[in-house]
């Protein structure tokens, strides 16, 4: 290869790089991308932080159950012509409380209580969709989510609610940790574990509703479970586990949005698969 060829090869490479850089800068300037990054980052962090508590308390599937309820709630919102988030947040919080109470009062296991509420949520959603002449585009979009289509008002709501969830986790951190490690011992130190359970359920409900917009009803539980189980493979401490889970979730969301934009892949599925990839990497790292 003579010098001219080398120079032209360098030119091609440089211009390709410049083109890619320009594309990336343009990509970052799109307001819908900025909105997706902002809302996605906040929601990813609260999902990961709460996920640690849920996984260790063997409540992982509550996310799945509540996401099904949020489907029913969103269908109700669309059916009544009310903004879906406004009806989903209180209804899903109420459902999480019902799951707790069914477990306590009806003396049945938590997973069965989640199954009951989850089925009612889905059945309600399907019925309402049918009454309004089938699944419309709006309702269908909530099944698989699309963070790239998130509106500014939804971003503001997501950031505010996520901030509230994070503040509550911070304020109750030690009580949440104690009740997660050993609920009975926590009671003997004066911690009102029944309130702690209500707090966890309510925070999960809010988080699930926010995450539905991002990855859809079908994949919400993955966002709660995957970063948590990834970090639990390698973390050497409870606080470290939470921080690691948040980092994994954050990187997955940022990378997921970027990849889905450039490759035209569905954003929710991309984010979840990246989370799964991190989990596999953590497993390999643990085995090394």
């Amino acid at each position: 290869m003579d010098m001219n060829n080398i120079l032209s090869a360098i030119n091609i490479c440089t211009s390709t790089n410049i083109k890619t850089n320009m594309e990336f800068i343009n990509f970052l300037q799109y307001s819908f991308i900025q909105r997706a990054f902002l809302a996605g980052s906040f929601v990813a962090i609260i999902c990961a932080a709460l996920g640690i508590f849920l996984v260790l308390r063997k409540m992982s599937l509550i996310g799945d159950g509540l996401s099904h309820v949020s489907f029913g709630a969103i269908a109700l919102g669309i059916f009544l012509g009310i903004y879906p988030f406004h009806i989903a947040v209180p209804l899903v919080i109420l459902s999480s409380y019902i799951i707790l109470k069914i477990t306590e009062k009806a003396k049945i296991y938590g997973d069965a209580a989640i199954g009951i509420v989850s089925a009612v949520g889905i059945a309600g959603g399907v019925l309402l969709a049918s009454l309004s002449n089938g699944f419309n585009v709006d309702l269908f979009s909530y099944l698989f989510g699309n963070i790239l289509s998130i509106a500014l008002s939804e971003v503001i709501l997501s950031v505010i609610l996520s901030a509230i969830v994070l503040i509550i986790i911070y304020l109750y951190y030690w009580d949440l940790f104690s009740a997660t490690f050993d609920e009975e011992y926590a009671k003997t130190t004066g911690i009102k574990t029944e309130y702690i359970n209500i707090i966890i359920s309510a925070l999960t409900a809010v988080t699930v509703v926010l995450a539905v917009k991002m990855v859809g009803v079908m994949l919400v539980s993955a966002l709660l479970i995957l970063p948590a189980v990834t970090s639990l493979q390698i973390a050497k401490g409870f606080k470290i586990a939470i921080v690691l889970a948040c980092c994994t979730a954050l990187i997955s969301v940022v990378l997921g949005i970027t990849i889905s934009f450039f490759l035209n892949w569905p954003s929710g599925a991309t984010i979840v698969l990246l989370n799964a990839l991190f989990f596999i990497l953590a497993l390999i790292y643990k085995k090394l």
Partner: protein, 256 residues
């Protein structure tokens, strides 16, 4: 001697099944009580009632002169639960984080852990000669080390009453001996009252001054030495009294 715990005709039911009936006793500062009885006798139930984990069906209980329901000074009670599978290998807590849980009763909401609490952790780790375990994951420690950490957690708030639920089940004979020496030291030097649930009544008789024997009701509450010479107990226990007292009489280690 100040009264730490007073139970007056307490009854506890599980649904409609009575678990404890008309149990009365009094525990004073510096007492070392061995709580014994057959399986299902209500030993753990009694402890749970003291700790407010299950409600009383009848009777009254006072802890540090306060009715049990209104009691809130949980830092005065140290509790070592029965060793079970609670320390899952999946749970990522360090020794330091577990010890902090024992400090929580003395903290007001929002519970923020600062320099003072870290210094107390240093102190207790030093006391138990386990400072090197501070950053270790509790799930990676041996059964004996875990038990030591949980005992340190029970003592970190400087309690006046220490409740131990079958603490020796996870320990080998050597660790068991050293564990009971630590407990005895706390009782004799710091005047901490101790309630220790055990199946091994003979063994605990070497250390405890008093025996509280339950069988859904109170069978015996008094000095260990008097239990061994009591003819009433002889007629109740038969040959078992001799077995319980054998080790006590031959290896009499406590001071009272």
């Amino acid at each position: 001697m100040s009264v730490i715990l007073k139970a007056n005709k307490i009854c506890v039911n599980y649904g409609k099944t009575p678990a404890l009936h008309n149990v009365s006793f009094e525990i004073n500062q510096g007492d070392y009580i061995g709580l014994a009885g057959p399986n299902g006798a209500g030993k753990t139930t009694l402890i749970k009632a003291v700790l407010g984990l299950i409600p009383l069906a009848n009777g009254e209980m006072k802890i540090f002169d306060q009715p049990q329901k209104k009691f809130s000074a949980w830092q005065k009670i140290g509790y070592l639960p029965q060793k079970s599978a609670i320390i899952s290998t999946l749970f990522p807590a360090t020794v330091e984080e577990i010890l902090m849980l024992g400090i929580l009763p003395s903290k007001k909401w929002p519970k923020v852990i600062g320099k003072k609490e870290h210094e107390r952790v240093d102190e207790i780790l030093e006391q138990f000669k386990i400072s090197d375990l501070r950053k270790k994951m509790i799930s990676e420690l041996s059964g004996g080390q875990q038990q030591k950490i949980l005992l340190a957690r029970a003592l970190i708030s400087k309690p006046q009453l220490l409740i131990l639920d079958e603490p020796s089940t996870a320990l080998d004979p050597e660790s068991r001996e050293s564990f009971f020496q630590i407990i005895s030291g706390l009782n004799q030097n710091n005047k901490i009252a101790i309630i220790l649930i055990t199946h091994d009544t003979g063994y605990i008789g070497q250390y405890a001054q008093k025996l509280l024997y339950l069988d859904k009701k109170l069978v015996y509450f008094g000095k260990f030495s008097e239990f061994c010479t009591s003819t009433d107990m002889g007629s109740y226990f038969g040959h078992e009294q001799h077995i319980i007292c054998h080790q006590h009489l031959h290896e009499h280690k406590h001071q009272n």
